[in-house]
Every structure is written in C-alpha cells, then in structure tokens.
C-alpha cells in the first residue's frame, strides 16, 4: 500500500475524520445549523475523489496483508458512492425544521448522519467479510440512535428499540454466517471466497455449511433492505422515527445495501447463482406484492411510504436477480431515482403537515403547488412516462427479460399496476375529495422547498434523458461483471 493508493479511499477518510471534526465543532459552537453546513462541506469534500474519475478509475484492491484484500475501489463503488453522497446532500435540508419544532435540534444529528455515511461508504467498498460486518454496524448504530433521537417521545424510543433489537438479530445471523464461511473455506476476503466457491462448484456439490453461511449473510442484507419477509420492522420504525430520519432511512442505507448485495452476488457468491436466483426472485415478487397491497390499506402516510419502499425494493430486486450488467445498472438507476423521489415526497409530506391520508383531503384547493409536487412525484413513483420512475422500471424489467426471466418481468409489471393503486388513490384524495378544513397550509420552510424543487426537476430531466445517469450506471455495472 503506497501513499498514492490511500487517496482512493479518501471518501471514507474524509467522512470518518470529518465526523470527528463535526463532533468538535458541534460541541464547542453548540450551533446545529453551523454543524449542518459543516456536514454539507464534508460530504462535498468526500465526493471530490470519485468525481474526478467516476468510471475511468482503476479497480483497486486495498491489501490487508495475509487476510487478503480489505476494500476494493472500482468504477462501480465510485458511482454508488456518488449517488449515495448526492442523495445525502439532499437529505440535509430536511432536518432543521422538524427537529427545531420537536425542540431537539442538536449538532449531533448531523454528526450521526455523517458517521452513518462513513459506514455506508465502507460497506459499498468492502472486499472482506469482516470489513463488511464492521461497516454494517457502523452504518446501523447511528441510525438506531437517530431513530430514537426524540427521547421524550414514546413512539420514537419504541421505534429505536425495535429497530435495534431486530437489527442486532440480523447482525448476529450475519456474524454466524461469516463464521461458517470461514470454517468452510479458511478465508474471508471476497476474492478468496470467490475462488474457493468456484473450486468447490467445479469439483462437485458445494458444502451445505457454505450454503447455510451464504444464506445467513444474504438474510442480514435483505433485512437492511426490508425485503419481504424480512420487512416487518419497516412500517413500525418508519412511523415512529422523526420524519427526516425516516426519509434518511428510506434512502441512504438502501443505496449502500443494494450496492453491497450486487457486489456480493456478482463477486463471492457468483458461482451459487443457481441457488440464490430463484429464491431471490420469489422474494422480489413477495416484496412487490406485500408492499403494494399493504400500502393500499394504510391510513398513516409514513406507514404507507414504508410499504411503498418495500414494494420499490422488490422492483430493484428484479434488476439484481437478473444478474447481468443491465440488471445491476438498472437497479442502481432505479435506486437513485427512487431515492430522490422519496425524499421529495417526504419533503412534501412535511410541508403539508399531514399525518394521515385524510389530512391530504382537497390539498389541491388549499395549496396548488404542493399538490402538483405530490402529483408529479407520485406519478413518477408509479412509473408513468415520461417521468423518471418509468425509465427506472423500464430498465429493470428490460434487464430481467434479457436475462431470460420473463415470468419475473411479468410479475413485476403486474405488481406495478398494484403499486399504481395507492399513488392514484392519494392523488384522488388530494384532488377530488372535499377538504375538512379550508385553512391554507402553513408557509413552507425554504429547506423543504429546495428538496422538492430538486426532486421534481430531477424527475422531469431523468425521465426525458435517462441516459444522463443510465450511461454512468451501465459503465459502473459493466466493471464488476
């Protein structure tokens, strides 16, 4: 490891050191807003290195001595990191207003976000099962804390605890899986596991112990992604967490976890495709169905969005299951588009002040602009052309067809009809129902306006020019297959 190679890990270093710096800044200035600006600067600084060579950079492994590589930087991780950090920037403006209203606007919020981001970047670039585990925990713990951040609020605390208990269980499963892999293969680096599994597959049947280990590791990742049937925590935690944290939870960890899952399946577990492809295909269908049909019966908007997340993760899984560059690219594209659409929706939700679906009644008469934002983003989420959401669905379904998984693509298309249901239902409530009150919505804070604006513009632009992002994700995905 030379001094130049360490430059490639700058995003992680910047975020890690930056979080410490922010902690000091927050502690001494006790100024949350200043810390927030500092967090934005840190995130921007972390983006510099991947921006310099997004898809032309080398595939570079960071050596961990005898244990094999610990981390790997490639065009794929660069693009995933860029999407992650870009979305993270969009998350920051959501925070201030909500926490101020809850009288909990403290510098630590931003510190925790940056710390979680460090974990996510480490997760994206990890090339060793132990790195992976540590990164997963580094990502999860700040989010547990953020979920329970409103200490005096019973719901928030409950949600934090639930998330923590179930998340710990998933971590336990993963650790157990890692130990089984180590017992079977004697190595934990991705390349080592890849070679060993390939050899095992070449000589005959893979040992059941390895399969169980793989399954446990995948289950833990699927838990983070809230793929059905490991999704049960999602609505409760979403509902209880402070709304900006819900928005963060619904976007950032998903990006990291999807990137990791793609790399795991294309890397170490590649030779087990025959095992995981059908299983994950069924889980994708289950997620799409459970998410869409449960969203229909929700009355609480945050729960509704939680189920929408589950359904959308199902669509992303379609791209992952396709196990080809197009699928991985489609999944990344979907993820990016989904993430900013969701953030825009959360911003609109906070701006409207609505808690339940009924609160949205007749929003179109009370605040036209806000209703139009909802409409655009919901249509995009439902996959109506020419909005970005359509292109995202188009990309993953095309990939599934190219991989020969036509039934899966058909199931996906049918599920998107179901998913259309709740989008249209919300729009119907906003536009056609008579409002209970005619009071106009309160003035929308600037931060939320920015997020909604960026989200709407991106929805329109990426809907018409999907290749602006699609070319990048395709180049990124091609690098790892």
């Amino acid at each position: 490891m030379t001094h130049l190679d360490i430059l490639l890990t700058t995003p992680l270093l910047v975020l890690g050191i930056g979080s410490l710096f922010l902690l000091m800044l927050g502690a001494f200035s006790n100024n949350a807003r200043l810390t927030g600006i500092g967090a934005a600067v840190v995130i921007l600084a972390a983006m510099v290195q991947p921006l310099l060579q997004p898809v032309s950079g080398p595939v570079f492994a960071i050596d961990g001595g005898a244990g094999g590589h610990l981390m790997q930087v490639s065009p794929f991780t660069n693009i995933a990191t860029l999407i992650l950090l870009g979305i993270a920037l969009l998350c920051l403006p959501l925070i201030e207003n909500y926490f101020k209203a809850a009288k909990a606007y403290k510098p630590e919020v931003y510190v925790l976000v940056v710390l979680a981001l460090a974990g996510m970047v480490a997760l994206i670039t990890s090339a060793h099962l132990l790195t992976l585990y540590v990164a997963l925990e580094l990502m999860s713990f700040p989010i547990y804390i953020l979920t329970a951040f409103l200490r005096d609020d019973a719901k928030s605390s409950e949600a934090g605890l639930k998330y923590y208990v179930l998340g710990s269980m998933a971590s336990g499963l993963m650790l157990y899986g890692i130990s089984l892999i180590y017992a079977g293969l004697g190595t934990l680096s991705f390349t080592g596991v890849f070679t060993a599994l390939n050899n095992a597959a070449a000589t005959g049947e893979a040992a059941p112990m390895l399969l169980v280990g793989t399954t446990l590791i995948l289950v833990a990742s699927l838990f983070k992604l809230s793929v059905a049937p490991f999704h049960m925590w999602t609505p409760d935690v979403y509902e209880g967490a402070p709304t900006p944290v819900t928005a963060i939870m619904g976007s950032l960890p998903k990006i990291a976890a999807v990137a990791l899952l793609i790399r795991l399946l294309a890397g170490p577990f590649d030779s087990l495709e025959g095992y995981w492809q059908p299983a994950l295909g069924w889980l994708a269908i289950a997620s799409m169905l459970v998410g869409a049909s449960l969203a229909i019966v929700q009355t609480n908007l945050k729960r509704l969005l939680a189920f929408s997340t589950i359904a959308n993760i199902g669509f992303i899984m379609v791209g992952i299951v396709a196990a080809n560059p197009q699928g991985a690219s489609g999944a990344l594209l979907y993820l990016g588009i989904y993430a900013f659409t969701t953030l825009g929706l959360f911003a609109a939700l906070m701006a409207s002040g609505a808690q339940t679906v009924n609160d949205l009644k007749g929003l179109a008469t009370r605040n036209k602009g806000l209703a139009a934002t909802f409409l655009l983003l919901l249509f995009s989420l439902a996959g109506i052309p020419p909005l970005a959401g359509f292109m995202a669905k188009f990309a993953v379904f095309t990939a599934a067809v190219q991989a020969g998984l036509v039934p899966l693509a058909i199931a996906g298309v049918l599920s998107s009809v179901l998913a259309l249901f709740y989008s249209l239902w919300l729009i119907k409530v906003m536009v056609f129902d008579t409002p209970d009150t005619l009071t106009p919505t309160p003035k929308i804070p600037q931060g939320l306006n920015i997020v909604m604006f960026v989200s709407c513009i991106a929805t329109l632009i990426l809907g018409i020019f999907p290749n602006m992002l699609g070319n990048l994700t395709l180049a990124a995905a091609t690098a790892i297959f």
């Binding site: 169980v212 019966v297 290749n467």
Partner: protein, 690 residues
C-alpha cells in the same frame, strides 16, 4: 458560412420554440387576467371599444412583451431560413445533418433528435417561416382587441416550432412528434375562442378526424420499423431496393398507410371534413395552418418518402385518384358556399388535391412547386378575407356584403387589389404564380406513361375552370355590388346591423384595415405574383439535388413539356372563361345563379350540402360508434370491467387487510417471522442439495 449551416438550421428550428417559451413566461410575471378568462373570446366582443374589463397598463405590457418575443423570434427564424435556402442553391447535394441528442436507445434502436437540411426541408423552411412571420405581424392588427392575444401568439409560435421540427426531422419519430405537435397546436388555435360552442366542436372534430388518420399512420410507421429496422430517412432509402426485391407487398402496405395519415392532415377526400369547420378559428390561423403549412405536411411527407413511393406504383395510382377526386369534389362544393372563409377552405382542399395527383404521377417536384406557390397566394387570400371580415365587423357571408349598402371595392381598395392578385394566382393566369405550378401539375398528369393520367388531367382541368369561377365569385360577390342603394334604402339595413351588438357609429362604417395588417400581405402578394416565375426551376427534378427520387420509368414530369400545345393551353382557356363567366354571373346578372339553382335542384343541393359527407358520416360512423360506445359504457365498462376491477381491488384490499393482521407491532412476532422465513429458506436449500 457553409460551416455554420448546421448551427443555423438548429437555431431556425428552435427560435420559435424559445419565443413561445419566453412568451409563456410572461404568465409568471403577469398572471392571467380576469378579462382573459371572462370576455373577449368572442370576436364580436373583441372589437368593442368599451369592453367592460378595460386592460390595465401592466396587462398591456404583458401582451406586448409576449407578442414582441414571439414575433421577433419568428422573424429571426425567417431571415435564417432564407439565408440557408439561398446558400443551398450554391449546391450541396448531401443533406446537412445535425445531431442534438439521443433520446433513448433500446437494443439496436436509438431514437435521436436533430435536423436534416436539404432542398426539400429548406423549401419547407422558407415557406413555413415566411408565412408564419407574415401571419404573426398581421395578427398584431387582427387580434389587437382580443383580451387574450398573448395566448394566441404563444400558440402561433409553438405551432411554427412543431411545423419546423416536422420538416427538418432526420427521422420519422421526430417527424411524428412534430406531426402531432402541429395537430395539438391546430386544436388549440381552432378552439382559441373556446367560449364559442361551434369553435370547440370544430377543434374537437379536427383533432378526432386527424386521430383516425394518425392511427393509420402509426400502423404504417410500425410496419416500416418492422420491415426496415429503422426509422431514419437515409437508412430507409438505402434499403428500399433490397426490401422491395424481397417484399414489395410490405412497401405497398407501408406506403398506403402513410398516405392515409397524410390524407388526414392534408384534408383529402374522405378525411377532409374537419378543414371547413376549422374556419371557426381566427382568420390568421386559417392562413397559417389551414392554407400554407400544416395541411401541406402530408404532401411534404410523401415527397420526402419519394424513394419508397416510387417502389409502390399501385399506391401511387391510389394517391393520384384520391387527389383528383378531392380536387373536383372541393371545387364543386366551393361553388355554392356562402361563407367567404369556407369557400377558401374548400379551395385549399381542392388545391391540395392537385398536389396529390401530381405525386400520383410521380411529379413530386411539381407537387412541391405548387405547394410553395399555393402557400403564398392562399395565405394572401386568407389574410385578405380576414381584412374584409375585419373591415365588415365579422360578417363572413359574401351575400351580405352587398346588403350592407357599401361598395366594398371603394371602401377597401387595398384589400381589393390584393385579393385580385391572390385570385388571379389561384385561377392560374399568367404570369401569376399559380399558372406555372398548376400547369406543370396538369401537364405532368397528361404525360403520365401509358396515358393513365389522362382522367386526372381531365378532372384537373375541369376543376381549374371551377376554381376560376368560385375564386372570382368571392371577388365579384364581395366587392362588385352596384351602388344602387339610395339613402332611404340603406337605412333599414343600418338599423338591422345595429341589432348586432355594434354600439357606436364608428362600427357601422366598413373601414380599410390598418397598415399593420396590410403590410404583411405585401410579401405574400409579391410571392403570389412572382414566385412562380422566380422559382420555376423548382419544377425540375435536377433542382432538388437528390432530395426527391423518381424512378426512370415514371417519366411524367420529364415528358410534361412535350405534350400537345392545345392541352397545354386548355386549362388557361378554361380559367379565363371561368373568370368571364363569374363576372357575368356574380357581378352583372346576379339573378342567373338563382335561376340555375332552381333549374338544377339536385346538383345544387349536393354542392350546397358538401356532398352530404358529414351527414353520411353521421349515419355511417358517428351514430353506430355512439351506440356501440353507449353499449360498452353501460354493459362492458360499468357492469363488466368496473365490476371486475372493483372486485379485483376489493380482493387486493382484503389481502392487504389480512396481511395487516401479521403487522402486530410485537418485536417477538417480527423476529419469529424472520426466523421462520430463514428456516424455510434453509429447508429449500436442503431440498435443493439433496
């Protein structure tokens, strides 16, 4: 200069769009006024000096900013287009293409945007931008008192952009977007006075009839994509020979369906019914869309696709006969209509028929030539008619002009002169523009190989005489009444017109239009007089530098100059006799037409009722469709599909409710579910490895 051609083309196409967008932005600064919504849509109110909502100073600004932006951008586009056109004459045979961006690509498909400039698109560029610029300027005067005139200008510019995209597109996808774009703008402009029920109905009719044609066109495009694997012009043309050797049936199929699409836009017989009704729109719209540009899109498309049509001779025969039928049909209807704009609309229909039968005998250059000259003189006629209507306070019935008690040729001398120029060009009298192009069309028909074009020639020549009659019927009926009305006689008519919501004295007097309306007619008049002579090279294949392809066996255009002298002169003789006849019938002895109509009641009724096409369609299509639709709405949709869907939705909802039962909120239930799923997964693995 040559190096700049691609950028200039892009600029010419985009300028009107930019103008329209900037114009639309004025709505952000000055939002819609109450006056724009409430009043002033009806043109009878539009000219009321004492309109209840007097526009405020800032709203005036809103209008003038939007109008200047749109008009300015179109004028600039016109200058650029002419520069390009003249530059091209110095000879680049290869089309100059630009690539804007790739919209999306899927597998071997890539849908790209860009421009393609060759003789064909350059000709359309100057036609579209010139007429559009004249119409923009003219509308400053014509729409001066309309309360929502900026909306009008924004639509006009948006239309111009769509039309330019249509003609400069390098592939059929972009062309189709332009094609639909002009359709939408046409809908908006026909229905511009949306408070008038008839305008709404006409707008909807135009849209629906065009949808029918577009459906056929889409079938053609899909077939084209399936057969050729591409929708880019250059790639299609390169493959025509290969495809026609193996699958000539496919080529005929594609050509036929594209033609049906073109029939809709170009108002050919059978799909023409929307065009006369479209006269409900403001007159400048008729001049721009329904005379010079959009309705010629079909002609342009067929000329653009000439390599394909040359490989489908049977379809060309159909094109020829449809064109001829349209030419004679519309001419006969034009004879008896009383609305000045409708007569001109039928005349347009008829002239488009000429263009199509020129295409039918493979004389594409003749069709394009006639398209160009026709654009000038027909736009001139429409604007002239607009000037008359403006001067006569929205009286459109040519029989009522005499009743007004004024001699219009004395009241509107300039308009009168300009209308003469336009009508002479329409009738095909030398040296006016129509003479050159129409004669070329007829001669080409005569010279078609094997003599199959002779019926077309005969029909066309007869129609040429009718054209002269109805064209001058307008002139003589509108302008040539004898001032026999004395003061005593005139008073009752004045009193009558008082009832028609004219409030002050100024409005009783017909008046010549303001200069802002007359000046833009001058370039058009110049075109109507001289474009035939100046551009007569357009009638030769060589002039088109390869943008039009004619099979060597289809020699009609080439042989057109060698037909017997008598048949060359016959249309002219008939046209002059037509004008003379019109003079006697409609200026000197006005009793005769009435006697003729009484003597020949049936032909008269057929002509007056437009061959009963609308009525036939009502019985044949509209009523059955409506009953079928009602049946499906009642039984299929409400009871069938809604029932099924509501049932389906209820099932999903029930499923959701049932699943919701699992969402208990207890951590140990959730953990149990996870472990259960894990166990099932491991069981699956066990089964799989056994």
């Amino acid at each position: 200069m040559q190096a700049l051609v691609p950028q200039l083309t892009t600029l010419a196409v985009l300028l009107p769009a930019i103008g329209a967008l900037l114009g639309a932005l004025t709505f952000l600064i000055w939002p819609t006024l109450k006056a724009e919504l409430a009043h002033g849509h009806d043109d009878h109110h539009g000219h009321d000096d004492h309109a209840p909502e007097a526009p405020t100073a800032s709203s005036k600004w809103a209008h003038y900013v939007a109008m200047s932006l749109t008009t300015g951008s179109v004028l600039a586009a016109t200058v650029i287009s002419w520069t390009l056109f003249i530059g091209l004459n110095n000879g680049t045979a290869e089309p100059v293409t630009t690539h804007w961006f790739t919209w999306f690509s899927a597998g071997p498909w890539a849908v790209t945007f860009g421009t393609m400039l060759d003789k064909l698109s350059a000709t359309m560029l100057i036609v579209v931008t010139s007429v559009s610029a004249c119409v923009h300027v003219y509308s400053w005067g014509y729409m001066a008192e309309d309360a929502s005139k900026r909306r009008f200008f924004i639509y006009l510019s948006a239309f111009t952009f769509a039309m330019l995209m249509l003609v400069t597109a390098p592939n059929l996808v972009q062309m189709f977007l332009g094609w639909e774009g002009v359709g939408v703008c046409s809908y908006l402009l026909i229905g511009f006075w949306f408070h008038k029920a008839s305008a709404n109905a006409a707008a909807i009719k135009a849209f629906i009839v065009n949808r029918v044609a577009d459906a056929a066109m889409l079938v053609g495009l899909f077939a084209l994509a399936a057969t050729f694997g591409t929708l880019t012009y250059s790639e299609i043309f390169a493959k025509v020979d290969a495809v026609s050797a193996t699958n000539s049936y496919a080529i005929s199929f594609i050509a036929l369906f594209l033609f049906i699409g073109a029939m809709g836009k170009s108002a050919q017989f059978g799909l023409h019914t929307w065009l006369p009704d479209a006269m409900e729109g403001p007159t400048p719209v008729s001049a721009l869309i329904h005379a010079a540009t959009m309705v010629t899109a079909g002609v342009f498309l067929l000329c653009r696709m000439s390599p394909l049509y040359e490989a489908a001779p049977q379809v060309l025969h159909i094109v020829g006969y449809v064109g001829a039928i349209t030419a004679i049909f519309a001419a006969t209807v034009g004879l008896t209509q009383t609305d000045i704009k409708r007569v001109i609309a039928y005349s347009t229909c008829s002239q488009l028929g000429y263009m199509f039968f020129a295409i039918g005998v493979s004389a594409y250059p003749a069709a394009m030539f006639h398209l160009t000259t026709h654009a000038f003189f027909k736009a001139l006629l429409f604007l002239g008619a607009g000037s008359v209507i403006h001067g006569m306070h929205h009286e459109q019935n040519i029989f009522n002009y005499a009743k007004s008690g004024y001699v219009l040729r004395k009241v509107l001398p300039i308009t009168y002169g300009l209308m003469w120029l336009g009508s002479l060009a329409l009738a095909g009298i030398p040296p006016f523009a129509g003479y050159f192009s129409k004669d070329l069309v007829l001669e080409s028909a005569f010279a078609a190989p094997g003599g199959w074009g002779l019926p077309l020639y005969a029909i066309g020549t007869l129609a040429a005489m009718l054209t002269a009659i109805y064209g001058f019927r307008i002139i003589f009926m509108s302008f040539h009444n004898k001032p026999k009305v004395d003061e005593a006689h005139a008073k009752p008519t004045k009193a009558k017109s008082k009832k028609e919501a004219h409030h002050d004295d100024h409005h009783h007097t017909p008046h010549e239009s303001p200069w802002i309306m007359l000046v833009p007619m001058l370039p058009l008049a110049f075109g109507a007089v001289l474009s035939g002579w100046l551009l007569h090279n357009m009638g030769t294949l060589e002039w088109w530098d390869g943008s039009i392809v004619i099979h060597h066996a289809h020699s009609a255009l080439h042989d057109a100059h060698h037909i017997p002298e008598f048949f060359k002169k016959l249309p002219l003789i008939l046209a002059i006799s037509g004008i003379t006849l019109a003079f006697y019938l409609f200026a000197e002895y006005r009793g005769i037409p009435k006697r003729i109509s009484q003597l020949l009641p049936i032909p008269y009724a057929i002509s007056l009722n437009k061959w009963y096409i609308d009525e036939i369609y009502q019985v044949l299509w509209v009523n059955p469709t409506a009953s079928v639709a009602r049946f499906f709405a009642e039984w299929g949709d409400k009871k069938g599909i809604d029932g099924l869907l509501n049932g389906g939705a209820a099932t999903v909802r029930d499923f959701g409710q049932w699943l919701r039962g699992a969402q208990t909120g207890y951590v140990y239930h959730y953990a149990y579910a996870m472990l259960l799923a894990l166990t099932l997964g491991l069981g699956y693995l066990l089964w799989k490895t056994m």
